[in-house]
Amino acid sequence: MGLTLNHFLVLGALLFCIGLYGALAKRNAIAVLMGIEIMLNAVNITMVGFSFFNQVRPYSTFLTGQIFAIFIITVAAAEAAVALAMIIAIYRRRSTVDVGEIDMMKW
């Protein structure tokens, strides 16, 4: 037996949950951002796997999964730039990157 779609889906699920743990359980804001990047990469692996194993005839030639992965990469890069600018601005004001202490919008 060779590679099946299940291999890639299970790999994507494992990586997604490791990233989810990093995003939920960390206190450093940059570590939370790293967890989100891992989650986005796991989704990309799943998307490209679906594109590779798609055999429905007119649609498999449109490579929808790969195009979707390219747009995910674009949005992830934009999100990383804005989030890191926000983290640096908050650090300049309050000298901390701990997400537990950044509570100025908490009611």
Binding site: M1, L3, T4, C17, L20, R27, E37, V82, A85, V97
Partner: protein, 180 residues
């Protein structure tokens, strides 16, 4: 076991191991270095799936730009105890662990019982439709035609909207990160 399966298992073990290292290291600079290894290995998975363009883009954007951006932010927000415990766990750690395990178990159970997933076979030659346009010789030209082509089926409008998203992100990053 053929060669592709062997390479898949090697890359998958390195991917899961480096992702775990990102999550469990105490020093956040080590986490960032493990994240670079993770990005580079993910491009190996894309090569295995015949997606050469995405593999190159992964190296350029993630292992290049995003990794440098994260390291820059780490150096600009330096805390005093970066060696000892610069990547601490929050109070919700023991709540997050079962949540993540449940999500993983749910997804893996769903994929293992789905008949569409278990019967899917690879199409090693994905090119060859009977459209108006000729099928391009390689993946990069194919993606390029799918993104730009004015005559064939293409994703021109989402591509233009993505450029607007990038412009807004650039301006937002400059405005937010500027000194007062």
């Amino acid at each position: 076991m053929d060669l592709a399966t062997l390479i898949f298992w090697i890359i998958a073990f390195v991917l899961v191991g480096s992702a775990l290292l990102v999550v469990i290291q105490r020093n956040i600079v080590h986490s960032a270095l493990a994240l670079i290894l993770f990005f580079a290995m993910a491009s190996g998975i894309y090569l295995l799936l015949n997606a050469e363009f995405i593999a190159i883009v992964q190296i350029l954007i993630y292992a290049g730009a995003v990794a440098v951006l994260i390291l820059f932010a780490l150096m600009l927000t330096r805390t005093s105890n970066i060696q000892v415990n610069s990547n601490p766990n929050g109070k919700l750690r023991w709540l997050a662990l079962p949540i993540c395990a449940l999500v993983a178990a749910g997804i893996i159970f769903a994929t293992s019982i789905s008949p569409l997933v278990t019967t899917a076979t690879s199409n090693l030659v994905p090119y060859g439709g009977k459209g108006v346009c000729a099928i391009p010789p390689n993946n990069v030209i194919y993606i390029g035609e799918l993104l730009y082509s004015p005559t064939c089926y293409s994703y021109v409008l989402p591509f233009e909207i993505a450029s607007v998203v990038l412009l807004v992100a650039i301006m937002g990053a400059i405005v937010i990160g500027r000194e007062d």
